[in-house]
């Protein structure tokens, strides 16, 4: 199955982290990548710029309207994602255990939409 993992954390987790702590975060990601290579397949994964760079588009009265900032204000911010092919949820969660413990991770399967097959 293919899983989309949303990475979220308190804004201060990165900004207030010492160089030392940031290094442990990098190491955790490297360990995660190594394990994914062995036990699953990395489709893609990126880190995102901060929520202050977000632009949200909604349609109001049929017209697109842009607003500054993310969908919703919340204590945690989305900081990145992974898209991973793994055999099942237990494999996926055991891989995710390698990522920094300061993260909240939302793990969701990806689905095929009928009639929307680009291949």
């Amino acid at each position: 199955m293919r899983y989309f993992v949303t990475i979220a954390y308190e804004p201060t987790v990165w900004s207030d982290a010492s160089e030392e702590v940031q290094k442990t975060y990098h190491q955790a990601h490297l360990a995660f990548h190594d394990a994914v290579e062995q036990r699953a397949q990395l489709i893609s994964g990126e880190a995102l710029a901060g929520p202050e760079t977000a632009t949200t588009m909604r349609h109001v009265d049929g017209k697109p309207v842009l607003t500054d900032g993310p969908f919703a204000e919340s204590a945690e911010i989305v900081g990145g994602f992974y898209l991973i092919e793994a055999a099942n949820l237990d494999v996926m969660t055991s891989l995710c255990e390698l990522l920094p413990s300061a993260y909240s991770l939302e793990i969701r399967p990806v689905i095929q939409i009928d009639g929307f097959d680009q291949n």
């Binding site: 055999a87 099942n88 949820l89 237990d90 494999v91 793990i107 689905i111």
Partner: protein
Amino acid sequence: MQRAVEEAFRDQWGRLLALLVARYRRLDLAEDGLADAFEAAARHWAVDGPPDNPGAWLLTAARRRILDRLRAEAVAARKEPMLVVDESLRQEVQSTMADPGGLLSDERLRLVLLCAHPSLAPESASALSLRLVLGVPTAEVARLFLVSEATMAARLTRAKRKLAATGVPFAMAGGTALADRLEVVAAVIYLAFTTGYAPSTGEDLLRVETAGEAIRLARVVRDLAGSQPVIDALLALMLLQHSRRNARVSANRIVLLPDQDRSRWQHDEIVEALGLLEPHLAVEPSGAGRAYFLQALIAAEHAVAPTAGETHWERIEAHYEALEAHTQSPVVRLNRAVAAAELKGPDAGLALLEGLEEQLPRNHRLYAVRGELLDRAGDPAAAVAAYQIAIELCTNDAERSYLTERVASIS
């Protein structure tokens, strides 16, 4: 004839369901197909007599229903997500089905781990385990959890869909992963058990039934996973609490532990519980198992005391102290205060209650205990005041009438 069906149901439901799930990878189909097969068995066996191999008969009947259903679905082009089942198990199941006498070693444990998967909400996992592992009918599960059948059916359907849609595998966990998962299984079982003892306004008889089902589930898990500290401790704790069921209520009124007729306790269950605890006394369980273990030791002290007056309160207080250190729970502190009062007098108990109101603001038991201890300490006015608050906060009819009588006896 009905007995043959009941026996087959008790002995075979979980195993057959696990086989069907492994083969067809659809919880809903496996469940419906097997339920239909048991209905058919009740009709046919009454006329023709039970078959030589009831398990094989039921498996064949269930598979026929499932294949019919799959054919009908193909026409309707329905798409249900299928469970993740690894290839080796599917092949193993194929040959087991060809020769149903053969047994897979762990297919039922896979079913237990699936139903009690940590990705499900505990109350859903609890209901699903009763339904799928034990085969308790949905209407019955709904009754036990005090919700309507429609609500329970919807909850079970959502849980089954989630397991398939999120790729929770029908698989064994090994080593430390198994120990971790059994902690979740234990929590799921204990939730079913305490639903039975929750101080709601429900009928007491119902609580006894729910507790009985939870114990049955724990026994199944113990049979499958072997002696595991967390499961042994949990089963012992539940047996000890359950053993007092016939002495707990008399003429619709609650009978407190010291006043219970000890000859009405189920002594076979007490003996069984003590036997479960014994092997773990040398190396006490850690982690989640420790809380069940310490609570079971406390219940065991009550269970072995010939009379209330001969209770070993010093051991009970020590167990509560260890339990409080382990859980940091204010409810444990409250119970510890009761034990301390028995051991050292009411003032020792009252001292331990200091400051608990902040942590337990709506807890009627806190005020009931304080009232009791104040009365024993010779302060009836303060005792009545505490009891009045307890009566205001109490939602259980039987308990409230007990508290009202206590106030009347003081003043």
